[in-house]
Symmetry: C2
Subunit: 290 residues, 2 copies
């Protein structure tokens, strides 16, 4: 069964359950509502699905991987909430709905992002199906991927990405941190959940190639797609004069690069056991339209 | 030796070391600088000192408590950075220096706060002097204290605290979450580091009383002190028409309440072994001028 069909329904269900576990009273309830609003906005759930897929390929139990997978999706959602805020990308829409700060105001959106960030770590620390050693290892891996050497570092580089001619090096560094860090992390977390730390390095190589291809396709869609299909305004990169692979090297070169990276990801995926669903996912992401 | 003399120097040193551990390159370096700027801004280091003090009272090893103590201070610092931002309290100064967003801009301040939040969890997950079970327990305790049922929930209530007559109940709920959550957590984390989970409940009762007294004294100082002594503008609560204990019940009643809560904290402190430094700290915080 396809990765993006098999896992997302159970991820949605578990995300709902995990949010229901948080006790709140009326005065602070709005913050939890904002967390749920953004978390339930949909999206492809690629990162948590990768955690589950790699956990199963590593011979692990899906039930043990589900909470870490949801934690990773909380982190991804927190980063989107903060990224959309006026002081960052200033995006009014996300997945076809008003972004969190447009719906709840900036203060609540800021706090909802903060709360999702720490709840992710709480969920892993409490994951009863995993050994304490495994929980430490997952939290370490996730926190490194999120921090200033990972996703947040990439967002920092992106702040400076306005009207500037980034070198290819800096552009790829930004992609590798801002986008690939969490995707690499998803693959690594899956292996750790499956008790196969020896597979982490190869899984991260796959995640890096997939993440780069994914981001370049994202940038191509920002140029070629329309708002209705994408669920968010297109052309925002050009509007903000952002350096992206297609903006710097042209659409044709970008398509070739994305295809080459996908081929590389497929090659690495081939080294894992029971790899058909992973290879199918990898190829599908190259040809997606949103 | 006094708690606020004994532990802060080693906390400062370890915070510096932990920040040096983060590998960054030039493009994202500004984010790490902002983290260090806010983390090194001083402050009394009460929360991490409490972690150390409770760890020693619980018969634990100070070296095991130092990293969790630093993690808690990172969380406290992240909350101050975000709290000072224009969409929150909009404070230009913190501890006598420009606040993080005034120095580095809002986007970097937002990301520096986010990065400190996750680095705190990474530091605990990597703490080699602690068992993996202890690390899980500390992360669980810390994340609960930070989240929407704790500090962040308290900040959410505080957002609505403008020009509104809060009931005493809501006021104390806000204090208990916004201020006491991390102080309770500090005392609990110390007990966990010392291997005495059985002391956590009593330590939290102490933290609650101390935290409430501490916040009421803070609110009194906002009315009675001057900017130079306090290192931040005074009168900001009145300016923003915020409900605080002294604003609602008057200075005299606030002083009495703070004294009664301090007496209660001293009483609970007396039930711990080797409690003289803790009792001395508790009384000193009541009579502080900044």
């Amino acid at each position: 069964m396809e990765i993006l069909e098999k896992y997302p329904p159970m991820i949605e269900k578990r995300l709902d359950e995990l949010m229901e576990c948080i006790p709140v009273c009326a005065p602070e309830k709005i913050c939890k509502e904002a967390m749920k609003y953004s978390l339930s906005a949909g999206g492809k759930r690629i990162r948590p699905a990768l955690v589950c897929a790699f956990a199963e390929m590593a011979g692990g139990d899906l039930s043990a991987a589900l909470d870490p997978a949801c934690a990773l999706e909380m982190i991804h959602t927190f980063s989107l909430i903060h990224d959309d805020m006026p002081c960052m990308d200033d995006d009014d829409f996300r997945r076809g709905r008003p972004s969190c700060h447009k719906k709840y105001g900036e203060a609540v959106a800021l706090l909802a992002g903060d709360a999702l960030e720490c709840y992710a770590f709480e969920v892993i620390a409490c994951a009863e199906n995993l050994s304490h050693e495994c929980r430490s290892s997952l939290i370490m891996t996730l926190a490194k991927a999120v921090g200033v050497s990972g996703m947040i570092g990439g967002q920092t580089i992106d702040i400076g990405n306005e009207g500037k001619g980034f070198s290819e090096d800096v552009l790829f560094r930004m992609y590798s941190m801002k986008t690939c860090a969490l995707i690499r992390c998803a693959c690594a977390m899956g292996c750790i959940c499956g008790g196969r730390s020896d597979l982490v390095k190869k899984a991260e190589e796959y995640g890096e190639a997939l993440g780069l291809a994914f981001q370049i396709v994202d940038d191509i869609l920002d140029i070629t797609s329309d708002t209705e299909t994408l669920g968010k305004p297109t052309g925002s990169d050009r509007e903000q004069d952002k350096a992206t692979y297609p903006a710097v090297f042209g659409l044709e070169a970008a398509r070739e690069k994305a295809a080459a990276l996908t081929a590389r990801a497929v090659q690495i995926a081939g080294e894992f056991p029971d790899n058909e669903p992973l290879i199918s996912l990898t190829e599908k992401l190259l040809y997606r339209v949103k």
